[in-house]
């Protein structure tokens, strides 16, 4: 093998770093089993005295976990499906169809990735609040209380299209052979049929990558959900619900329960990531190397 220098030093660095990466998660799991007298005492004890599930039961009781879980699933699935469909549609047009303004639109979509989310936070919130004909608003967006912010749609709509997703799909579709599409055209297929029956099935690998990135990002979304659900707690998702649990309970008793909730909310993402990590990793690398 090439370059086998300093392997012991490399092992030392990588193992020490890996301990620093994994240790907080182990502490999270261990703390989720700690009883009332075990958490927040000096000297610090890493291991709990027993592994009984009291904190997990308590998390279910305090948090209405099924409701949080349901909201998280609805929002995440809707956003992921919609990002996949809209990216595949726009990506196809940009990769395979000839039309006026193609270069301009492609550059515009690249530019959309440059606008930082914090800049759009305030105006987007106000737009949702004044959404016409929603939440009691009239046609001009006046008079109602809350507009779209009282519905789960407020957590879904602002994320239904992704500039990055369109870019990823477009890059992948450019490499699909034109002959195949031409053949379908000669057989009398229209563009919709070509897209649906020929192109879409071939995008599987890139769709898995984009789907995973979107799934994990949406499942973990925090600021926007916190904002929208601040006036309507029924819209909380797992991260927001768990974070707010702390504000009304004694910290030394709450922390283990919070940790149990966090273990529960991290597990789905972790399992999905470990199963498909190859695809997720590829997406991150693709985003870095264009």
């Amino acid at each position: 093998m090439k370059r086998r220098r300093f392997p012991w030093f490399a092992y030392l660095v990588v193992i020490l770093g890996a301990v620093a990466m994994v240790m907080p998660f182990l502490d999270m799991v261990m703390s989720s089993f700690k009883g009332a007298g075990e958490y927040g005492v000096i000297p610090y004890q890493f291991l709990p005295s027993s592994f009984d599930l009291a904190n997990y039961r308590e998390a279910f009781a305090q948090l209405e976990l099924p409701r949080l879980f349901r909201n998280s699933v609805i929002v995440t699935v809707s956003v992921t499906v919609s990002v996949l469909v809209t990216s595949a549609m726009a990506g196809y047009a940009l990769a395979k169809l000839r039309f006026r303004g193609r270069a301009v639109i492609f550059r515009f979509i690249l530019a959309t990735m440059m606008l930082p989310p914090f800049l759009l936070l305030i105006p987007t919130f106000l737009i949702m609040l004044n959404w016409p004909l929603a939440g009691g608003n009239d046609l001009l967006g006046r008079g109602g209380d809350g507009g779209l912010t009282t519905s789960l749609l407020a957590l879904i709509l602002p994320f239904t299209v992704s500039g990055f997703g369109i870019f990823l799909m477009r890059q992948f579709m450019v490499s699909l052979p034109d002959e195949m599409l031409e053949a379908a055209k000669i057989d009398g297929a229209n563009q919709w049929q070509i897209w649906r029956l020929i192109v879409l099935p071939q995008t599987r690998p890139v769709a898995i990558t984009l789907g995973l990135i979107t799934f994990i990002g949406t499942w973990n979304e925090y600021i926007w959900t916190l904002l929208i659900s601040s006036s309507d707690p029924s819209l909380q998702t797992l991260p927001v619900g768990i974070q707010l649990l702390q504000s009304f309970l004694d910290p030394d008793r709450t922390m283990p329960i919070v940790m149990a909730g966090l273990v529960i909310s991290t597990l789905p993402v972790l399992v999905v990531f470990l199963l498909f990590q190859k695809y997720y990793v590829r997406g991150v690398v693709l985003s870095g190397l264009k």
């Binding site: 370059r3 086998r4 300093f6 490399a10 092992y11 660095v13 990588v14 770093g17 890996a18 990466m21 994994v22 907080p24 502490d27 999270m28 703390s31 000096i42 000297p43 610090y44 890493f46 549609m89 726009a90 047009a93 169809l97 000839r98 039309f99 639109i105 979509i109 959309t112 606008l115 914090f118 800049l119 759009l120 305030i122 987007t124 919130f125 106000l126 737009i127 004044n130 006046r142 299209v161 369109i166 897209w195 973990n220 925090y222 600021i223 904002l227 601040s230 991260p239 974070q243 922390m255 940790m259 966090l262 909310s265 991290t266 993402v269 972790l270 990793v281 991150v284 870095g288 190397l289």
Partner: protein, 312 residues
Amino acid sequence: MTSAVGRVGTLAVPAQRVGKLHREGRAAYLFLSPALLFFCVFLILPFLFAIVLAFSDWGGFDLGTLRWAGAANFGDVLSLDGTFVKPILVNTLLFAFGSVFLATFGSVLVAYCIDRLAFQGFWRVLYFLPVVATVVAIGNVWKMMYQPAGLINGVLNKLGVNSVGFLSDASYALPSVTVVHAWASIGGAVLILTAGLKAIPSQYYEAAEVDGAGSWHLFWSITLPLLRPALLFVLITQFIGGLQSFALIIVMTGDGGPVNATNVAAFEMYQRAFKYGAWGTASAMAMVLFVIILAITLLQLWIARRRGEETS
């Protein structure tokens, strides 16, 4: 003149083909319509609205009461008597610079080391775990570890060091949060740098080794220069991320305390807007931060390009 030829050319295109192209264009816009509609409503409209808000005076929810305020909001925000420039903007820059420095240094070291080990995929997955976790999990776990009875002080006490008030002591709070942000972003950077490392042809190393170059020499004169595109991407994206992130601060310190020690610009904007309803001031803060991000990004690209011209 080409006009005659051109006209003949257009005439020569069969009518059928023109119709086909026309239909293809219509199909293309149909395929693009959901995306374009979305960008109009959730990108262009809010962006223009953000600019209007930054120059207006408005405290309510009825657009009829919105008044033009000129540059007054910017005067307030950038006034040295206020808290925005100092300590908040200074905090923001320290937080971003600090975490970019730690994450870049750490990820170059780790990516370079992993590249010469067995089970590379396994190691990379471990480093990637924080990238997959929600900021609520990361923030709370670290908050717990930083407490007097937490893991880190437990280790320090074992080593005979007194407990440190990582989040309660104003002089330690910002560095403590910065470390967590860097910790969480190392995994993504390692991946990008690994891809960059794999793209370096191994003949370069072999040739240099034949010439008797040592490990450090190989790293400085081959790895680092050839890694520059990947490194630049990591630096720019981490900077942008560091300057605008505040979710970790909400989770770890609640209100940006102790006494504004961990308050950053995007968080101040969030609080001014949604706690006090000061849309104008908050939007002016957002604009200032946006311009800073743009300026730093362009500066980095400019430096990178100049360096590139000097060496090549």
